[in-house]
Amino acid sequence: MSGGDRGRADFDARMRRLFADVDTAPGFQARVMQRVAARSAAPRADLRAQFERTRAHATRNLVRQAWMNAATAVGVGAGGIALVWRHRLEITQSVQAGLAAAADSGVLIGIALVVLGAGLWPALRRSVTPL
């Protein structure tokens, strides 16, 4: 073996020794599998969290919608009452005129028959509808 070959062989041996202990810690594969298991569980957790977020969002929307509906009903009701209050005199006069007209003719009987028919209509319909 020449001096150059020996020098190179010594150098190679020293470098191999130097890197011999450069390695992963024991249990590398087990730690990899732990990470794999953790990542596999993560999507399920993500789906659960997404489901919870969607449900909370839907609940908020329903509550908001209910408040909007209530506010609309109150607004329409208040508006109706205000309108009636504003025209109370005209309404009173109209009702009185109507009652007076009904009192001296067959209109009252006609109205009574219509109301009676409307009340009985569902019962009559059920009786003629086949099962």
């Binding site: 150059g4 150098f11 130097l18 992963t24």
Partner: protein, 181 residues
């Protein structure tokens, strides 16, 4: 140690878990070595190697065999390591005491490396490609052709990097460069 052919056969048979159980020991040291050569930090290299194997676990069912298994794994490792290095370089500044200590450690290295720690510091101070080549060549005693495949470089380029790295280290070891030719 399992061969690539055995691992690929298991993948194609849908036995991914068994393939992975063979793949980790077969590639552990090479993946770690490649990461270590790029990152120069053992803990970071191990962490990255684990991440690479998790990626391989997820991607293995989609491996179609068009690229060689080793080439595919080295490419994933190289990309992950380079990405991690970029992130780390952005996060680290020269005002960081750890970086200052590292720089001072390198500059205060004696002219002749009498112990392994000093020699390691010289290796770490080599240019990136030379350091990676010398690390991969000696860490797992891979042939030049495989080191070239791992680094994604032509074999002759890797030989040049190895030659230059040996010449630099010969100087600090106090031996003539031609003795290492």
């Amino acid at each position: 140690m399992a061969t690539d052919a055995e691992i690929i056969q298991l993948v194609q048979a849908g036995r991914g878990r068994e393939a992975f159980d063979l793949l980790v020991p077969a590639y552990r040291r090479r993946v770690f070595g490649l990461a270590y050569g790029i990152l120069r930090d053992r803990a970071a290299a191990e962490d990255l190697a684990q991440e690479v194997f998790v990626k391989l676990w997820q991607a293995l069912p989609r491996y179609d065999g068009r690229a060689q298994l080793s080439t595919w794994i080295y490419a994933i490792t190289r990309n992950a390591a380079i990405s991690a290095l970029r992130t780390r370089r952005r996060a680290v500044s020269l005002s960081d005491p750890a970086v200052l200590e590292e720089v001072e450690g390198v500059t205060s290295t004696p002219a002749v490396a009498t112990d392994d720690a000093a020699l390691r510091r010289h290796i770490e101070a080599l240019p990136d490609r030379q350091r990676q080549a010398i690390t991969l060549y000696y860490l797992d005693e891979r042939p030049v052709n495989e080191v070239a495949e791992m680094m994604g470089l032509p074999a002759n380029t890797v030989k040049t990097h190895l030659h230059r790295a040996r010449a630099s280290l010969a100087a600090v070891l106090g031996v003539a460069a031609e003795d290492l030719a």
